[in-house]
Structure formats: structure tokens, C-alpha cells
Symmetry: C2
Subunit: 312 residues, 2 copies
């Protein structure tokens, strides 16, 4: 059963990609636009690596390594081992199949294509029917201030140091000069529903909202705008969200996540495990937000959209 | 037995790398400099590919796929197959192990290092003791004029069309503005002997000689300067040398190769299979120039250097 609403979903990496996959199951392809964080992007060995974009593309095309939630299934690391054999400090995993994506991107970047065009080409090459858009064509970089190592590039913090350093602050470099692309602006304008995936609020959603003009575009929308909590029972489903919340002096709770979104949203989905939680500001519902199987993903997408449909 | 002479050898790809390996066996590492053609270099998927440099590095480090004479032994093509699966026209072989070299080079290029520095780093990473130098730090590109396809980039002619088109002319783009590096200039100045490997005169040696000032550096040397014929019994040992000679209106013979070098050399080595050939201009010797085994390579290197030693 396809729900006939135009939906824009804002996502980071693994958790966001799972919800996007669920939405892809229940919406017509022309009705779904996935707007992806690019503030995790970085250059590695001269390649532009877009971890969140690639996780979304691999997930939506069925290529993803489901044991990690990122990377290509059954990938090998022959290049990477060779690089290490040549003395390189190759701390970021570049699988051999994954490399094909990076080389296509490099090729198109050197031809002067925008990141939006490149993601379109990649999505087409992977036979993805829904629209995947980077939040901006400009480079935005999350910088992580840590107690132990000073300011780190995001991937250093996340991959090299496995998010173990204590975070004292975050900033999104270039966000103030980056703008939403025309395609993102158009998709938001046309959307019947805006969704915020259960991605890390500070590391995945905040950089998207920090893009100059993005917050205003969303605030101006008079439609359902719903976030799904990535914090369940005081813990992050995956990754550093809960640890980060504590370090930044916040409570790791769906209540705090709802406060993070504030006026950006008018509806909030949290997990049934937190059914005692209190929300003043937003319409809210407790759903089973765990997305282990593809059926879970489609169910959460469906239940969220059906709840929104019940508003009117 | 190491011969105590400083030797500079000018090489292209496979044939030149074999002689360089032979010389590496018989000379002290500090006495051998290999100056390599880079006019075959090109950009592919945003990577700078240096086919001759890499063939030399892989050969001297024992990494080479000896069945081809180029590429890394036991390499796989997982990235390449994935690239093709994504609809790319990936006509140039990029092996997974080989890719590590291309990524290191890309990384260092984006950091602003010169090609000379990059080749030094790669040689060091591969534990190569002799000095390998690109002919120039500037880009020179062999362009091949063909009857069937007009002007082609070298690798299109060589790899994509497998040197089957009829060649009507050659030019070396940028050669007139490229200069020999300080390292090449110094190595030539210091050398006791200059050797020209049995590489393709028109495709490998001519672009080196076309670099602005290179010919003068060599002409100014008053030392033994010896070329080894890549044409044996009217045929090229490998590749298009004989076919190309015919198409350009030359005789495919060691006599014509010696004429090609002219005043650049003062000694010429040809194969015993051509022992009837006539040479007016140069001191000459017939040797077994076939380099099937590593022992063959060392033998040809030794016999050539011993012949040169006998001049004085």
C-alpha cells in the first residue's frame, strides 16, 4: 500500500538510512526525498569520502553490509592492505567495492560536477528510484572539540578514535556560508510532511539545520514536521548520541531530543520503552522504533505516516 | 661483482624496466639512476596514472606481474568489476593492489608534492635502493595521430585500441615547455655512462628527448652513450615498435634505430640475430638482447657495461 504524500526525510548515516529504506517501501519513489548530512565528509588519500551519502545509497540499493549498517556487503580490503604494506596510516576503511563509488565521485568532481549531480548519477547507477540529495553543494565540516586531543576532524573523532574522547563542544565549519541547494529548497517547499530520522541530533541533524537558510525553510513550513528519537531507554540505538549528550551536559532522553528540535518540529515519535516520558511542547506518540529487519523499517515508516495522517 | 661506474639509463615501460632490473643486479644502488618516460601518463577517474613509472617501480621491487611485464603480481580487479557494474566504461586495468600506488600518488599530489618527490616516496615504500626519476615534473603527453580515429591520447591508442590504428604522426604535447628536473640534470652531469634501454624509440625515448633541454644535456656529455635496439629480426620484442616504424615510413631494423639516435649516442648494441646489419655512424656490438629470465637481464647489463669498459 503506497501512501500518497510527498515526504522529505532528513538523515545522517546508519539509523537515518534505515528509516529511509522503510519509507522507500511504503511511498511512491517520486514522493520521497532523502536529504543527507554531508558534514562528516572528508578528504582521504585525495578522495572525497561522503560516509552518510554512501550509507544511504548502499542501504537504498540493497548493497549495504547489514552487519555494520555501512559499507558494501561482502567487500574486501585488498587495496587497503596493500596501502598499509606500503607504510600508509590507512585508518579509514576503504573497501575494494566501496572504492568504485569514491573513484566515480572523484572523476565527476574533477569534471566540475556538483555533489548533487554526482549523487544523482550514483543513485541512478545503483537503480535507486527515490531522490537522494546532499544538504548542500558546499563543504561543511563538523569539528569536534575534545578534552584529550583538542579539536578533531569528525572522522578522526568518530573512526580513528572510535568516539572515545570526551567532547567539550561542536562546531560546523562553513555552515554559515553554505546554502541549501535549489533541489533541497524545492523538495522542502513541495513536501506534505517533513521527517527527521532517528539520527544523532548533534552530529547528523544539527549540521543540516546549521546550513545557512535551512532552519528558516523548515520553520516556514505549515505541515506536519516529525522527529523520531534516536535515544531509547537512556541509550543510543547505535553510536555516540547518549555519550555525547552527557558530555555536552544534556540528559540522554527522548525529552531532551524533543527539546533539541524545539520549534523545528510539531510532532515527536519516541520509543514504547520510554512510555513514561513527558512532552509539553509537541504532539507525540510512542512507537516501537527498533529497526532490526526490513519489515521493522517499513512498519515504523507506516505507523509514523499513519499517525501523521490521523492529525487532520 | 659490482661495476663501479655511475650509470643513467633512460627507459619507457616493460623492456626498459627489464634492463633497469639487470643493471640493478650489477651496479651499486647509489650508482644507478633510472630516468623514466612520463608522456604515457594520463588522468583516469581523477587518478594520475603513470604506467611507465609504475612498471619500473614494480619491476625493481619484485612486485611486477611477470606474465604481463606490468601491473602487480597476483592482483585482483574487485574495484574494477564494481565500477563496470555501476555502468562505467572502465577500459584501463586498475588492479586492487595497483590502486594503492595510485591513491598514494593522488594523496601526495593533492598535498602539492612534485612527481619526483612522489616517485622517491614510492620507491622508498617499495624498498628500492636505486634512484628512479621521472623525466620532468611537468606534464608531457604523447598524442597519436591515426588514420581511423584522428588524434588519440596515448593510452587510448595503446590500451583502448590495443595499438591497432594506423599511426600517421606523433607529437609530445607540452614537451617544449617541460624541463628536465634538477635531479635528472644532476644525474646526467655526474654519469660515467648513459644508456638507452631497448624501449620504443618513438613512444618511450623520443618524449624524453623532446623535453626542453634534455637533448642538449645528453649531447654535451663526453662519455659512453649507448642504446640497445628494441627491434630484433625486423620485429619488436614487445609492443608496437615495428608496426609503428612501418606506418611512419621507416624500416623496422636496428640500422634505423641507430639512425633514430644519431648523435645522441656513440655506441649501439643490437641483437646477434641481426649480425649482418651495417652501422656506419656508431661503435657497435651484437649481443643476445633477449631478456626472458633475471639472469638474462643481468647478463645483458654486464655484457653491455663490459663492452663499454673495453673502449678505453
Amino acid at each position: 500500500m503506497a501512501i500518497d504524500k510527498k515526504v522529505v526525510v532528513f538523515v545522517g548515516g546508519v539509523g537515518g538510512a534505515k528509516l529511509a529504506l522503510g519509507l522507500q517501501h511504503v511511498l511512491l519513489p517520486q514522493n520521497l526525498t532523502v536529504v543527507v548530512n554531508i558534514a562528516d565528509d572528508f578528504f582521504h588519500y585525495g578522495l572525497r569520502i561522503c560516509p552518510d551519502i554512501d550509507t544511504v545509497l548502499y542501504t537504498l540499493s540493497g548493497r549495504v553490509d547489514t552487519s555494520n549498517g555501512w559499507g558494501v556487503a561482502n567487500d574486501s580490503t585488498i587495496m587497503l592492505e596493500t596501502l598499509r604494506g606500503l607504510g600508509a596510516d590507512a585508518w579509514f576503511r576503504l573497501g575494494d567495492k566501496d572504492l568504485a563509488t569514491h573513484l566515480l565521485r572523484l572523476n565527476w568532481l574533477t569534471q566540475g560536477k556538483t555533489l548533487t549531480q554526482i549523487v544523482q548519477h550514483l543513485a541512478q547507477a545503483m537503480s535507486i528510484g527515490v531522490t537522494v540529495l546532499p544538504m548542500s553543494n558546499q563543504f561543511v565540516e563538523t569539528k569536534v572539540q575534545t578534552k584529550e586531543h583538542g579539536e578533531l576532524d569528525f572522522q578522526e573523532y568518530f573512526v580513528r578514535y572510535r568516539w572515545q574522547p570526551t567532547v567539550t563542544g561542536l562546531r560546523y565549519e562553513n555552515a554559515e556560508i553554505a546554502t541549501p541547494t535549489p533541489e533541497v529548497t524545492h523538495a522542502i517547499a513541495e513536501a506534505d510532511i517533513l521527517l527527521f530520522a532517528p539520527s544523532n541530533p548533534w552530529l547528523s541533524i544539527a549540521p543540516i539545520l546549521a546550513v545557512n537558510g535551512m532552519r528558516q525553510l523548515i520553520l516556514a513550513k505549515d505541515t506536519p514536521k516529525v522527529a523520531i528519537s534516536p535515544i531509547v531507554d537512556g541509550k543510543a540505538i547505535k553510536g555516540p548520541a547518549a555519550k555525547l549528550a552527557h558530555e555536552l551536559g544534556y540528559e540522554a532522553s527522548p525529552t531532551h531530543v524533543a527539546q533539541f528540535y524545539g520549534k523545528i518540529i510539531n510532532g515527536f515519535v519516541y520509543d514504547t520503552q520510554d512510555s513514561g516520558a513527558m512532552f509539553d511542547q509537541h504532539r507525540h506518540i510512542a512507537l516501537d522504533t527498533m529497526m532490526h529487519t526490513d519489515a521493522d523499517k517499513a512498519r515504523l515508516a507506516t505507523q509514523t505516516l499513519e499517525w501523521i495522517a490521523s492529525w487532520s
